[in-house]
Amino acid sequence: MDMWNYNTRTQFRFTLLITILFFLLFESSCKKFIEVDAPITSVNTGNVYNENSNAIAVLTGLYAKMSDSRFSLNLSVYPDLSADNLSLYDQNTISKLFYQNALKSNSSIPFWGDLYSYVYITNAAIEGLTKSTSLSPIVKQRLLGESYFMRGFYYFYLLNLYGEVPLILSTDYLINSRLQKQQMNIIYEQIIDDLNRAKSLMDNNYVDGTVVKESIERVRPNGLAASALLSRVYLYMKKYSLAESEATKVINQSDLYSLVELNSVFLKHSREVIWSLQPVSSSIITNEGSFYIYSNAGPDGLSNTFLSDNFLQSFESGDERKINWIGEKAIGNKTYSYPFKYKIKSGDAAAATEYTVVLRLAEQYLIRAEARVEQNNFIDAKMDLNAIRRRAGLIETSASGLQELRAAISKERRSELFTEWGNRWFDLKRTGNIDAVMQSISLMKGGIWLPFKSLFPLPLYDIQRNPNLTQNSGYQ
């Protein structure tokens, strides 16, 4: 008899039908099933810029991270060690490489990774904020302004530390990992573009954590911070009239800013501050205070720098900054001097009285003085210069003529802005004096100066991973 009977055949057909149905239905029904919503505890690109509080938190997180990290300290110590302001107490490897101008192609130094990780955040924020339609317009505008400002700020440092760098303006790693270096003037144009956008998007108010309400805290950038940075950028580009006009915008805001007495400059609600970072740590108020100020035993492996004789000797007699901004510690028969702009070595951020200052009014006076000198407006230049000198307890400058005034301003910048944000190193570079100065200084520090050393080497890690990236010339 036939085993393949009617019943079996029915079963087979039935089974086959179900099989086909199964696979047909699977694709459509299951795709829906397995698509998960984004996790509520961790926001993502898709939803972060849909809600005011999340979007604000991105920029807040960026400032918190900058404040929490050694970012400002690195920019305070290493360029000044590379230049002529700081000496090294302990022969700590990485500091020694900066100090003796002996960085190599494979030296692992900070800056690059930090700066580009911040650039990524600003790029992500700009992309997300631009696309977003659900944020309140006032919040969106302010945050975009902050983002553009921060991107400009970071590229300013990338450019001045490394020279030509890849100009990364998106978050797509497939493209960005193969970008080659961009010419400096194009990067400058981008910085100016970013800062102008920032200026137009942000008003002159300082805002609190809601970015809407005004605040006495100057811990988020405002429109004038953009002008202040812009004036510095124009100065570096030798666009003096533009530098002057941007500086003027800031200086003229006398309701917001004024020069304050020396020991109040770096205090929490100082009227000199254009933008500062709020402390966030349980044990450190400012990284600068924590690092430069010695423990009772004097300099050690942690606080391992002191101010160079060359720098100490550059002060005019009677300069109160030498007394108020420089501390001293005698160990045996040697006295070590250290930057004492920040007075507190350690403490709880909740009770902080000092903030890390990023941009301040004195620099704007000095920028404008220099811009005016270069435009042959010596009288107004002197007024600006003297404003700074007066605050330092010095008499009016005796310098006259282009060369003398240039020199006077350069000296004044060194005395005023030492160990702040790499100013001395960048000044030597942009004025073209670096080779002349560093020839002898480098020898004294036990190193040898070569012109290519004015740019730091790109990290080997990136050179190896980006086929289109080349090392700065001179580094092997």
Partner: protein, 1117 residues
């Protein structure tokens, strides 16, 4: 140079000769046993040369030659005269030759041959064929329960059917009296004669290992008929080991499965690798399924303070006593149907079920204690102080104010064996389990409850307590069409362990450090007075740690249910439903009092901290399926079609409180003035869905083909790659069933060749890796009182499965009536499309992105399992089992390896290999370690990028186990030996930087440092002792040299147990139906040359596995 300073490259001497001798003796003994037993049964072949002799005489002759006895009741054997000539014939051939032409047939039952009249003549038979009858009957087990799905086949034609739900079968048109072969999984096959009404055909359950049920994905099979590479461990073996994590009872039992304990602490991490490590970075965990419910073996990380056992193994929350069997699915045939999840193999845990029978109560009480198995030999006070003084002398230094050990502050005559003091205690083990079970044909139930408590070897009151409950209910409808089962397991674990593993203190404290407690019982911070200027010299008193509280409460519920309905004969629709919730609440406190008074400024500084955590894994699964099973004349077909819907939610909430007013407020989170969320806080969803099918075809129980296919979708992957297909095909050939074998090689009675190939995937990359996520950036003091969130990394929407292709060859043999079973497997697994962190230039914002790289890792594995059953008698049995695995791991390909984050690996070598410096001893002039650099020169400062020229493979070279079980009357005795051959980092150069005294970590050293360089010209193995950093780099380099790695092989008597069951009549007197008493020991003896504490944990500062002894009773009411 003294190249042989450490006997590097030790030859094959790691097996101590005595053990070898014992093993040899055991094997010789067993083989002689086997030979004896088999001698009678497998005699010589039959030789006859007779002319015109009576049949009776010929048969007598055969009887003499073979031992077969002949019976014939209705035929006079003398009357037939035959002529026959035979050479080396077997019994069947001989009888056929003898009875040729006679109207006789024969039948062999055991050793008896029945000779009878043929019922029908040829002609009659032709007529009979025309008059075929319809055979019908019912297949039942010995308890008269129907066996649905049993196969009934006409032996001659192969035509067959399966029994229906009631065990009934109906075969149309069968020759009356034809031989029918009735078989069913797990039962001995039976031959019966066909007739119209056959009544009940009773099948006996097979006691052979080959017929034991193996659980596979969505079904069961037996060893005899499976096509895949599956290893099974049964409840008996698990129950003999006093462990709280069932994984630890599986060590050394299954070839191809490597299980390693990371520390002796209850609840600690356990590493399980099935056929090696497939993935370089992500997910090497096997896929765990408990009663059909996928179970997450890796716990969530909460980061809350203490758990000193890492994240811990979630298998600790499964009660070993509830487990009926554990099946390890290794090859593609067994795992491909689990698709993207089972690339690392699958571990199926089946819990105990209710059984038909009278209601009975089982009670088991077990108590015991455990102690550390091995400690390291450390310096005593004299040796330590001499080393310290020498260090300072070599530095031209004098003891400083904080060199308390030698500057006169601490008593130089004091000696404490810190290992004895801190980890030398006894851990107590109590286990109480009770169960009630029973049921009738339709409904069976089982309910059990238990309590397990384990304390620690540390001083103080610490424990891990578990209460568990297990429940199973099975029901079958009267018409046998509808079936239902419900299983639930629940465990509550309260784990109070210290926040730190005190082993880390025990191996480092100076031997003359002060007593830990003052005479008044307070912690000795030595000295302590009210003068704040007085230095605290014992600020690392480990007892401070014990004041920190660590409490983890875990609740684990696993529940599953299976519903099935038979739509028509052979076609079943069924679905399993599963739910699992694993919830943990944690508390960790750091009171001021746990710090030295100087740290807290005599109590004025508030460093109090408490960490709170709550985490859970919550998942459910539904798997509707259709199964089809039918016996055709062209073979037996089984089909499966199913789908999976799974959803899991993981959640971690963890936060840290500070600013408590006093120590007693620490458990109250509301008393904190500052609360910070932990970065581990997260919630994630995981969804998973699939359709799958399996087709199994078997022809004549000789040829089996098994094919599976699965289409998988997982939420872990980006929108571009959500779905993928996996498949496998496997074939088995039971070659012994072929005539060629049957007739020629009789000592092999079971033989199967298997070959399987297929693909599986690995989706163990964590959730949401494809999304560009932002995470909390929280600081002690929030920026502008707001929260910060920052991008976590690059998103990769193209993330995909890692794919593992598995090829497996298997051979199964049974000899001498299956008294010897041998299983051999050779597998080649290749994992490609590796999910690794792909380095990117920092300018992209992050240093890497998760991507699939065309990197390939290959695992070869050669597995052997030899099982011996020399004695198989009731009341006297002996079983032995030996297994060994030879694994080989190889990185086959990796694009741009040198530029990647894996540049320390080497193509062609194991992914667990490292590169180290060639060690060439101590420079006799400088006294520093020396290494051979790239240019062949000796240097004490080798370059980490060029000079590490020696590759050391940290994989086990082979591993396995050897077990014996002997039952004699009321006694049973068993043991398990586990062995591993491997290389690991040792501690011969010192535990931490030798010579220095750090007030925080004092740095006692192993006694290997006694043999050190002391003056110019010394040829020693250990460099000059100094506290200066000039010797630190050579010290680090020595640890990273070939001499810093050495043999860490071990043979461990993992378990031994003995039990005695009291005579039934005694038991009856105390109204018990059964009672037994047993004694068990775990980790009893370890033979190793490892320089460190334990060769399994391979660390010096982790608690070694404990040696546990327990005494227990099993009572049945």
């Amino acid at each position: 140079m003294n190249l042989n300073a450490f006997n590097l490259g030790m030859p094959f001497k790691w097996l101590p000769p005595k053990i070898l001798l014992i093993m040899k003796l055991i094997i010789v003994l067993m083989i002689s046993f086997l030979m004896q037993v088999s001698a009678a049964g497998y005699g010589q072949k039959i030789n006859i040369d007779k002319n015109n002799t009576s049949l009776k005489e010929v048969l007598e002759n055969i009887k003499k030659q073979t031992g077969y006895v002949f019976f014939s009741k209705d035929y006079d054997l003398k009357q037939a005269k035959i002529s026959v000539k035979l050479k080396d014939a077997d019994i069947d051939e001989a009888l056929e030759a003898c009875l040729k032409g006679l109207p006789l047939s024969y039948k062999i039952v055991d050793k008896t041959v029945f000779v009878q009249l043929k019922e029908k003549t040829f002609l009659e038979r032709v007529v009979a064929t025309l008059n075929n009858t319809d055979a019908s009957g019912r297949v039942v087990d010995s308890e008269n329960r129907p066996l649905p799905g049993a196969s009934v086949k006409v032996k001659k034609t192969g035509k067959g059917v399966s029994t229906d739900k009631d065990g009934r079968f109906f075969l149309r048109g069968v020759e009356e009296g034809a031989v029918l072969l009735v078989s069913f999984v797990g039962y001995l096959p039976k031959e019966v004669n066909a007739s119209a009404n056959m009544g009940n055909v009773v099948l006996e359950q097979s006691l052979s290992k080959l017929d034991e049920v193996q659980v596979i994905a969505y079904g069961t099979t037996t060893r005899r008929l499976s096509t895949g590479n599956i290893g099974t461990v049964k409840a008996e073996d698990i129950g003999k080991q006093p462990v709280s994590n069932p994984l630890l009872a599986l060590q050394g039992r299954v070839p191809g499965v490597f299980i390693e304990q990371s520390s002796g602490i209850s609840g600690g991490d356990v590493k399980v690798r099935i056929q090696g490590q497939n993935s370089m970075q992500k997910g090497n965990e096997a896929f765990y399924v408990i009663d059909g419910v996928p179970y997450q073996s890796q716990n969530l990380k909460s980061g809350v303070g203490g758990p000193i056992y890492g994240t811990g193994s979630t298998l600790s929350f499964i009660n070993p006593s509830d487990i009926e069997s554990v099946d390890f699915l290794k090859d593609a045939d067994a795992t491909a149907i689990y698709g993207s999840r089972a690339a690392n193999g699958a571990i199926l845990i089946t819990t105990k079920k209710g059984k038909t029978g009278e209601t009975k109560v089982d009670l088991s009480i077990q108590n015991g204690w455990g102690q550390v198995t091995r400690m390291i030999d450390l310096m005593n006070t004299d040796q330590y102080l001499a080393m310290r003084r020498e260090a300072l002398k070599n530095d031209n230094a004098l003891p400083g104010p904080s060199d308390y050990d030698i500057n006169g502050v601490w008593d130089e005559h004091r000696y404490t064996d810190w290992q004895k003091e801190l980890i030398g205690g006894k851990a107590y083990y109590n286990n109480l389990q009770a169960s009630i079970s029973g049921g009738n044909v339709q409904t069976q139930f089982l309910a059990s409850a238990g309590y397990n408590r384990q304390t620690t070897v540390f001083p103080g009151d610490f424990s891990d307590k578990k209460a568990n409950f297990h429940f199973n209910l099975n029901n079958t409808s009267q018409n046998q069409k509808f079936k239902f089962s419900l299983t639930s397991s629940y465990m509550q674990d309260v784990n109070r362990l210290p926040v730190a593993d005190l082993t880390s203190f025990a191996v480092i404290l100076a031997p003359n450090a002060p007593a830990v407690y003052n005479s008044d019982g307070s912690i000795n911070w030595a000295p302590l007075n009210n003068d704040p200027l007085s230095p605290i010299t014992f600020s690392t008193n480990p007892m401070g740690q014990l004041l920190r509280k660590n409490l983890v409460k875990t609740n684990n519920l696993i529940s599953s249910s299976l519903l099935s309905y038979e739509i028509m004969s052979g076609l079943l629709i069924r679905s399993n439903f599963g739910y699992n919730r694993l919830q943990m609440d944690e508390l960790n406190t750091i009171p001021n009092s746990s710090y030295s008074p100087s740290f807290t400024n005599y109590g004025t500084r508030n460093v109090r901290q408490a960490n709170y955590g709550a985490r859970y894994i919550d998942s459910w699964i539904i798997e509707p399926q259709l199964t089809y099973s039918k016996e055709f004349n062209f073979g037996h077909i089984e089909g499966l079609l199913g789908s999976t819907f799974q959803k899991s939610k993981n959640s971690v909430e963890a936060f840290q409180g500070m600013g408590y007013a006093n120590d007693s407020q620490l458990e109250n989170s509301l008393a904190a003035t500052s609360i910070i969320a932990s970065p581990n806080t997260m919630q994630s969803d995981y969804r998973y869905s699939a359709v799958f099918g399996r087709l199994n075809y078997m022809y004549k129980e000789k040829y089996i083909v098994n094919a599976t296919i699965r289409r998988d979708g997982s939420s872990r992957f980006g929108s571009e790659n959500m779905f993928n297909n996996f498949y496998s095909i496997g074939g088995a050939w039971l070659f012994v069933e072929e005539k060629l074998f049957k007739h020629n090689i009789s000592f092999i009675n079971y033989g199967k060749l298997r070959i399987t190939y297929g693909t599986t995937g690995n989706d163990g990359i964590g959730d949401y890796q494809f999304l560009s996520l932002y995470q909390n950036y929280s600081t002690y003091f929030p920026y502008q009182n707001g929260t910060g969130i920052l991008p976590k990394g690059h998103a990769n929407p193209y993330l995909q499965w890692e794919e593992t292709r598995k090829l497996n060859f298997g051979l199964d043999l049974g000899f001498l009536d299956n008294r010897i079973l041998l299983t051999a497997n050779y597998s080649v697994n290749r994992s490609s499309n590796q999910l690794v962190s792909n380095p990117l230039p920092l300018s992209t914002g992050f240093p890497n992105v998760q991507s699939n790289l065309p990197a390939t890792v290959q695992n070869n594995s050669l597995e052997f399992l030899l099982e011996l059953f020399p004695i198989k008698k009731i009341g006297f049995s002996w079983e032995a089992s030996f297994n060994i695995t030879l694994p080989k791991n190889k990185l086959v390909a990796f694009p741009d390896l040198q530029q990647s984050g894996y540049s320390d690996r080497t193509i062609g070598e194991s992914i667990n290999s490292i590169k180290v410096f060639p060690f060439i001893g101590v420079n006799p002039i400088t006294g520093f370690y020396q290494f051979r650099n790239n240019n062949g020169e000796a240097t004490s400062a080798p370059d980490y990028s060029t000079d590490n020229s020696i590759i050391i493979n940290l994989d086990p070279k082979f591993y396995g186990g050897f077990s014996n079980n002997l039952v004699y009357r009321r006694f049973s005795f068993g043991f398990l030996i586990q062995f591993t051959k491997q290389t690991a980092q040792n501690f011969r150069f010192g535990n931490t930087f030798p010579g220095a005294f750090d007030p925080i970590s004092h740095s006692n050293q192993p006694i290997t440092l006694l043999n050190r360089w002391q003056q110019e010209g010394d040829i020693k193995n250990i460099q000059k002792i100094t506290t200066s950093y000039e010797s630190f780099d050579p010290f680090l380099a020595a640890q990273n040299s070939d001499a810093g790695y050495s043999d860490a092989s071990f043979i461990r008597l993992k378990n031994a147990n003995i039990s005695y069951s009291i005579p039934d009549k005694w038991a009856k007197k105390i109204s018990l139906s059964k009672a037994s008493i047993y004694f068990q020991g775990q980790n009893l003896l370890t033979i190793t040359k490892y320089i460190g504490t334990d060769p399994e944990t391979k660390q010096i500062d982790a608690l070694p596995p404990l040696r546990v002894f327990t005494l227990g009773f099993n009572l049945t009411f």
